[in-house]
Structure formats: structure tokens, C-alpha cells
């Protein structure tokens, strides 16, 4: 079972605010996932390549040809705040 500090750390990295009850649920669910990983680790996996992708495809490449994108107006349509054609976000510096 992972501890509360780890749960809070992961939540902070993911920008999630959890109350105590949610934290407890997460702790149990994440622990379950990690236990499953541990079960896999315990097996003899010599010579088994790690699976990074479940479909056997490679080299799906696109030609370097420009395509029409969005107008500035459309790009900004869902923005919470706009200044001079740019998305405005909380001050970061």
C-alpha cells in the first residue's frame, strides 16, 4: 500500500485537489495498479521485449505539406481571456 504522501505528491503533479475521502480511494486504486505491476515483475520475463504499443505498426509518417489551420478568431474562440490576439493566462513570472 502506498502512503498518503505519495498520493498527495502525485495529485499535486497532476494538479488535482483531493479531499480526504478521495485521497483514500486513490490510495487504494493506485496501490492495486502497483500491486498488479509487481505481480508482472515477479514473473520470468527474460527475452520478452517491453510492450510500448499494442498495434504492430511502424513509420506512420506525414508528408511535409502545409494545411490550412484555424483563423486567429477560431483559435481564440474558446479562450477564457484574450489580449491582442493572444490567450491570456494567469501571470507566470
Amino acid at each position: 500500500m502506498i502512503d498518503d504522501t505519495t498520493v498527495r505528491h502525485v495529485a499535486r503533479l497532476a494538479r488535482l485537489r483531493l479531499d480526504d475521502a478521495e485521497e483514500q480511494v486513490m490510495r487504494e486504486e493506485l496501490s492495486g495498479i502497483l500491486e498488479h505491476i509487481d505481480a508482472i515483475r515477479a514473473m520470468d520475463l527474460d527475452g520478452v521485449p517491453p510492450t510500448t504499443h499494442v498495434i504492430e505498426l511502424e513509420n506512420v509518417l506525414r508528408a511535409d505539406e502545409p494545411r490550412q489551420g484555424l483563423s486567429q478568431e477560431d483559435a481564440l474562440r474558446e479562450a477564457r481571456a484574450v489580449v491582442d490576439g493572444s490567450f491570456e493566462v494567469p501571470r507566470m513570472d
Binding site: N59, P66, L76, V83
Partner: protein, 481 residues
């Protein structure tokens, strides 16, 4: 306390000058109105899928081959997770443990001709972040920061070196020559000013002879090699001072202020290094066909550092000539064409000297001017066979710059051909007779006065006389030599 030596490694981000972004068909741009080069993919709208730009892969391979990197038979993309407004997905698609280009080595040449070998750890593909401008400043009225996604998703190759550099000067030499090589490969504009090439330096110091590395700091985002060199110098000095006074260097990101020469610590991003990389499930692996890689290898242009050597050894240029000529791929092509038609050393002299000097006033480069490489070769030929004098040749060049006509045509049209020896002799005779005082000075051994006679002769002949011939004739007339 034993002596301390600096240990430096660099990370270089190179924006590829492809027509479209890394994972979508938007054209990357610099200087356009904000948010006019975006689409649902590079704005990270829900449900979109990235598709790898094949040209970016090709360019990454070209870079890897030029740096002698091992090319991965199969390489995958990873997600690098962090929250920042310049990253709309909250992760950057990058590469982690299986980059497309692995270990390599780059050899630069110092001014004294010695080799500077720098190990390349890796070169991988990733996407650039958007441009974030912090409140106020140019966008007065903005309380917060503002984001322009035009740059977001531009293809980047990140080149990481081993900590093989031992001085700020070597770091600058390496970076300049790496940049020159990248320019020759035609993969990027490599403009430090516009940010299409950016370099960060990892700096630490350790006792000489020690094999372990000291605690490093990361010097961020220098926009010129000069500032980077000074910044590394300042950071080395700061670390030496800390250690000399019994302190410990802290691992942090630092910034160099070019105006004051000070190093300042950037706000440390707590937890920001916990990127939780995992394989990008939206992209399949890239496995470059070995035949493709071999073709790219065979198509590599001659790179500036070996080329520099060849210009000196095979074509008789000086180190300095070779350095100027290899300044850009365009200039190399220009020179090579001329050197194929006339004496290479003379062509180099005229190109790097008079041609560039005259064109500088017009703000032109040789390859953009009216003067073709064949014109340069023809001019060198006219000088070699004595058709024109050196001063006249400069005028011929000015004429070609102006009109784009052949040098021979300019010589004829402007009457710049070398004067007949008899005519010149008669003119010198007249000048000597008209200036008895100066003639006497020459007889008295005041050789400086020769300049006066040469000047007079040039005036009378419109520059068509060879100064050495003038001097000989003046001596003959005055001193009977």
C-alpha cells in the same frame, strides 16, 4: 586547496526549418500575428491525434549522421509531463530512452589548429513549446501572461553532449562550429537571435584529477555565443568562489545578465523534474529503413571542418581564407565554382577581399550580386595575363557589380585595359618634367615621394597603369636606373 577544473556539457535545441510542424500541417512561423498558425492538434483540442512529420525525421537523421551518431533501428516517442501554459497538452511529445540518434562525436578545430573532440550523448526529436510573454511589457494592458501558439509544435532536435568541455572558450568554439555544420546540412536557420538555435550549458567544477563530477548548475537560454561564453566564464568563477570559501554549489538553474555580468538564480521549479515520462500511445515507433539511412549518409554534403582542411591542403588557401570561405554554404558553392575556372588562391583573395568589401556597401552577399563566380574567375584571368592592373581590376569589379556585364566587356567599355608600355613611358616622362622639385627629392633619396608619382600616374591614366611598372619607369626617368 587543490586546483579546480571546470566541466561543461551543453544541450542545444535546433528548430528544424520544415514547412510544417512536428505533428500537424501548420506552418511554423516567426514574427507573424499571434495565433495565426494553429490547428486543433497544436492547440491540443480533445480527440485529436498527432502524425509525425517525415521530413523532420529525415532531418534528425541527417544531423545524427553528421555527428557520427548511432542511428536507432527503432525509436519511440515519450510524453514528458508538466503543467505550464506554453504546453497545451500538459505534456511535451519528446523522446526518452530510445532516441532516434544515439552516441556520436563532433570534432571542432581550435584557432591554433588543435582538435576539440566532444562526445555526443544523443540527438532526439521533440516539439517546441508555445511563446509565453509575461505580463506588461510590449502587451501593455495584459495583467497576466499571454500565449502565442504559432511556435508551439515546431519540430526540434535536441542535441546533448557529454561533459567533455573544459573551458568557456572551448564551449563557444564547439557551439559556433556545430552551428556552422548544421547550416551546411540545411536543416535549420540556426538563428540564435530568433531562437531557432538555443543552447543551455551545464557547468560544474571539480578538483583536477578527480573522476567524479561536481554539482552542476544549468545556465539557461543564452541568445548569443558571446554571452554564453561570458556566462559560462562567470558561472565558473562563481562556483570556484563558493568552493574556495568552504561552501557547496547548489544544483539549480541560473541566468546570466549580460548588462551587469551577474549570475542570478532562477526560481527553482519545485517538483518540475518529475516528468513521469511514458511511451506516447498516440504515435507508433519510427524505424528508419537502413537503406534510407545509407542513402542519407551518401548524400551528406562536404562539411565545413573537413572542407576547411581541404581548402588549405589541396587548394593553397591560408587558414584565414578557409575560415572566411567556409562561413556559409552559399559562399563555399560560390568559391568552388570560381576556383574551378581560375587559380583558387587568387579567387579566394578577390572574393574575401575586394568583392565582399565593395558589396558590403550595398548590403549584398556575393551570391546575391551581379557578379557571378565565372566573372570572378574571368577577372583573375585578366589580371594574370596582364590585361588589367590591380587598381583597374578593382574598377572593373565595380563595373561588373553595377552592370552584370562580363569583366572583358567592362574593360573595353571603360577603357580600363593596361596601357601600352610606350604610352605609359611618355606619360611618366611628362609627369617627371612637370614636377622637378619632387624629382629632386627622389634623387636625394627621399623614397616616400614615389607615392606622389604613382598617384599622378594613376590620375593621368585613370588607374590603368600597374603601380610597379610606374615605379620602375619613374626610377628610369629620374635616376637613370
Amino acid at each position: 586547496m587543490s586546483d579546480l577544473e571546470p566541466v561543461i556539457g551543453v544541450e542545444i535545441h535546433v528548430q528544424l526549418s520544415t514547412r510544417t510542424k512536428m505533428f500537424c500541417g501548420c506552418a511554423p512561423s516567426f514574427g507573424d500575428a499571434p495565433n495565426t498558425h494553429t490547428c486543433p492538434v497544436c492547440l491540443a483540442h480533445p480527440g485529436v491525434l498527432p502524425v509525425v512529420n517525415g521530413e523532420a525525421v529525415r532531418r534528425a537523421l541527417i544531423i545524427g549522421l553528421a555527428l557520427g551518431c548511432e542511428i536507432a533501428p527503432r525509436s519511440i516517442f515519450h510524453r514528458k509531463n508538466y503543467f505550464y501554459p506554453d504546453l497545451p497538452k500538459a505534456y511535451q511529445i519528446s523522446q526518452f530512452d530510445i532516441p532516434i540518434c544515439g552516441r556520436g562525436e563532433f570534432t571542432a578545430i581550435r584557432e591554433d589548429g588543435s582538435e576539440l573532440k566532444v562526445g555526443i550523448t544523443r540527438a532526439h526529436l521533440e516539439e517546441d513549446a508555445a511563446k509565453l510573454t509575461h505580463g506588461g511589457g510590449r502587451r501593455a494592458g495584459a495583467d497576466g501572461s499571454v500565449v502565442d501558439f504559432n511556435r508551439g509544435g515546431t519540430p526540434l532536435v535536441e542535441i546533448v553532449t557529454e561533459p567533455d568541455l573544459r573551458s568557456a572558450a572551448d564551449t563557444a568554439i564547439f557551439l559556433r562550429q556545430l552551428r556552422q555544420t548544421l547550416l551546411f546540412l540545411g536543416v535549420s536557420d540556426c538563428s540564435m537571435e530568433e531562437g531557432s538555435m538555443r543552447a543551455d550549458a551545464n557547468v560544474s567544477v571539480r578538483p583536477v584529477g578527480s573522476q567524479t563530477l561536481g554539482v552542476k548548475t544549468e545556465l539557461k537560454n543564452m541568445n548569443s555565443f558571446r554571452f554564453l561564453e561570458r556566462g559560462v566564464e562567470a558561472e565558473i568563477a562563481r562556483q570556484r568562489e563558493i568552493i574556495a570559501s568552504g561552501g557547496h554549489v547548489q544544483q539549480e538553474t541560473v541566468h546570466y545578465e549580460p548588462d551587469t555580468g551577474h549570475i542570478t538564480s532562477l526560481r527553482s521549479k519545485e517538483e518540475s523534474h518529475d516528468y513521469r515520462y511514458f511511451p506516447e500511445p498516440d504515435l507508433v515507433p519510427v524505424a528508419p529503413d537502413p537503406a534510407w539511412v545509407e542513402r542519407l549518409r551518401s548524400e551528406q554534403p562536404e562539411l565545413p571542418i573537413p572542407l576547411r582542411r581541404r581548402l588549405v591542403v589541396e587548394m593553397g588557401l591560408t587558414q584565414e581564407d578557409a575560415e572566411v570561405i567556409t562561413g556559409s554554404p552559399e559562399l563555399v558553392a560560390y568559391f568552388m565554382e570560381a576556383a574551378g575556372l581560375a587559380d583558387p588562391k587568387s579567387c579566394a583573395n578577390w572574393i574575401r577581399g575586394e568583392l565582399r568589401a565593395q558589396l558590403r556597401e550595398l548590403g549584398q552577399e556575393p551570391w546575391e550580386s551581379n557578379v557571378t563566380p565565372a566573372h570572378v574567375a574571368a577577372l583573375v584571368g585578366l589580371l594574370a595575363d596582364g590585361t588589367v592592373s590591380v587598381p583597374a581590376a578593382k574598377e572593373v569589379l565595380a563595373g561588373v557589380i553595377e552592370t552584370g556585364d562580363d569583366p572583358a566587356t567592362v574593360v573595353e567599355a571603360r577603357g580600363l585595359g593596361q596601357m601600352d608600355a610606350g604610352d605609359l613611358s611618355a606619360i611618366i616622362g611628362e609627369i617627371v618634367n612637370a614636377n622637378p622639385d619632387q624629382a629632386q627629392q627622389l634623387r636625394d633619396g627621399k623614397d616616400k615621394v614615389m607615392g606622389f608619382f604613382v598617384g599622378q600616374a594613376m590620375k593621368r591614366t585613370g588607374g590603368r597603369a600597374e603601380p610597379q611598372a610606374v615605379q620602375a619607369l619613374v626610377r628610369a626617368a629620374v635616376l637613370g636606373e
